[in-house]
Amino acid sequence: MGVITVLRPDKPDAEQAVAASSPAGRAPLQDGAALVLIDNGKSHAKIVLLMLADELRTRLPQIEHVEVFSKTSAAVTITDEEARRLAERATLVVTGLGDCGACSSCSVLDAITLEKLGVPATAVITEPFAVLVEQFAITLGMPGYHNVTLPHPVATRPDDEVRELVAGLADDVVHQLTGSVVSPEPAAVA
């Protein structure tokens, strides 16, 4: 057998972790801030996002308004027009709940879209989908983009347990959205 020429069937450029887009800048939050929650309609999504909003307001008293935007499908992304309108009125954005393949990817894509429009944003997903959304962040030109993860599943847990899990995410969300660290633990003494 000899050497033959064959063609690549894939798109190698699309799979490289090249940062083609930058996330929004992080700055100290000012009074009158608006938190927009992009609810994908999945079971418990709105509940989780509102629980998280309660936690964020205790840590970020500058948040004066909380708005919920509900999508028509968890498996689609927000439109360009929806993104533009949300970016006009949002200081911070949290999307979710990504507890399946299509919905976690779309929640992260929505968050990245808002980042590209200058609004700090993160997505609440469940653990099995962390690797998947990392790949989507690469595809969208924002490798290393952060999200927060809850244990899976969420929809079958009692509300009290969900609230406790959500409370455990809040400091990380504050850090991701504002760059600041909440209630740092004192350094351990050896």
């Binding site: 050497v3 894939d10 498996a75 393949g101 299509a102 990817s105 779309c106 690797v131």
Partner: protein
């Protein structure tokens, strides 16, 4: 333009496996000459863009589609059908990003309706969903390879399927010639009888429907309805679509009783409306904290299909016994819809 690789011919298969470019089966090496033959058959320039999936920041060029179709084993005269399939796959209504990422693990269920299917030797008869026909197998496989290699839908990358189904390798078939007075799917969708169309729907795997003991049209159709309305069917009570493939015995029994296609679809819509108790009997709670899936209607029922046209009714399969199949959509219609494209065959 796609990158060319110089490989020892004996290394091609292993290289393509190692780089994750196959579906787990060997491929036909995509040499430039083979790829050009496919492009010529569809009269397309290599750089022509067949479609884009904006959520993935990826478009599909004619050359990329042809490379993957060669790998799948397509003959050049199959390529116009593959092109129509890729155009359908990238139509926003199909929502390729959602359908290819979902834990639901969707097949690209592909129905080819029209004279070109017969011309290239597609199977619409015995074993229509099974093995053995090159055109059915390789056209379906080509669409999957495009989804994997060009749109990134690979396990561990942008395909999040939990279980998947064997239809993810290929699920492509031809519709039988219409059984008078019923017309084919393409004319029902507004195309000419002389057209050839490709219709795709993101579906679960096929379910065979057995009913060998009755010729009563209502009894026959209740067999289909019992599968589509089952609580473990994700679209049950949520407003989805499905491919309903009627084998010759079942289609004949219903048609011979004087039922039109419209009456069949209306009956299936009615018979698949379910109650909360039906779901509970199947161990499925009604979703109460989500925003848009379960919508109870005034009589307390939930519709599996909200419109008769959400049932894609096709005739196919071999004569001899009472077998048919259904392929329910992976998700309700607010997530994804079937898309039809006319095949553009060069003169």
């Amino acid at each position: 333009m796609s990158e060319a690789l110089e490989l020892d011919e004996s290394d091609v298969q292993e290289t393509y496996f190692e780089r994750g470019w196959t579906d787990g089966l060997p491929i036909v090496p995509p040499t430039p000459a083979r790829v050009e033959a496919l492009l010529a058959a569809a009269a397309l320039a290599p750089e022509a863009v067949l479609g884009t999936v904006v959520q993935r920041n990826r478009s599909v060029s004619a050359q990329e589609a042809a490379i993957n179709a060669v790998m799948a084993g397509c003959r050049p005269d199959y390529f116009p059908i593959v092109v129509a399939g890729v155009r359908a796959l990238t139509d926003p209504a199909y929502n390729a990003n959602g359908a290819l990422t979902s834990t639901g693990g969707t097949a690209i269920c592909t129905i080819v309706s029209g004279p070109l299917a017969t011309e290239i030797g597609m199977n619409s008869g015995h074993n229509v969903l099974g093995q053995g026909n090159r055109a059915n197998a390789t056209i379906g496989r080509a669409l999957r390879l495009v989804a994997m290699n060009v749109l990134g839908a690979k396990p561990g990358f942008l395909d999040g399927a939990s279980i998947g189904n064997p239809g993810k390798y290929a699920l492509c078939f031809a519709e039988s010639d219409p059984i008078a007075p019923w017309g084919p799917l393409r004319t029902e969708l507004g195309y000419a009888l002389t057209d050839t169309t490709v219709t795709i729907l993101a579906t679960e795997g096929p379910r065979q429907i057995a009913n060998l003991l009755t010729g009563d049209p209502e009894w026959v159709l209740r067999g289909f309805a019992s599968s589509l309305r089952a609580g473990h069917t994700y679209i049950a009570g949520k407003g989805g679509q499905a491919v309903v493939l009627m084998g010759p015995e079942h289609a004949g029994a219903v048609r011979d009783a004087g039922w039109s296609r419209d009456r069949v679809r209306d009956y299936l819509v009615a018979q698949t409306r379910i109650t909360e108790a039906d779901l509970h009997a199947a161990g499925v709670p009604v979703e109460s904290t989500g925003a848009h899936t379960m919508v109870v209607e005034p009589d307390g029922r939930y519709s599996t299909f909200r419109r008769p046209e959400d049932i894609l009714l096709v005739c196919a399969g071999g004569a001899g016994a009472g077998w048919s199949a259904v392929m329910p959509a992976w998700a309700p219609t607010n997530n994804s819809r079937s898309v039809t494209q006319r095949v553009e065959a060069p003169a």
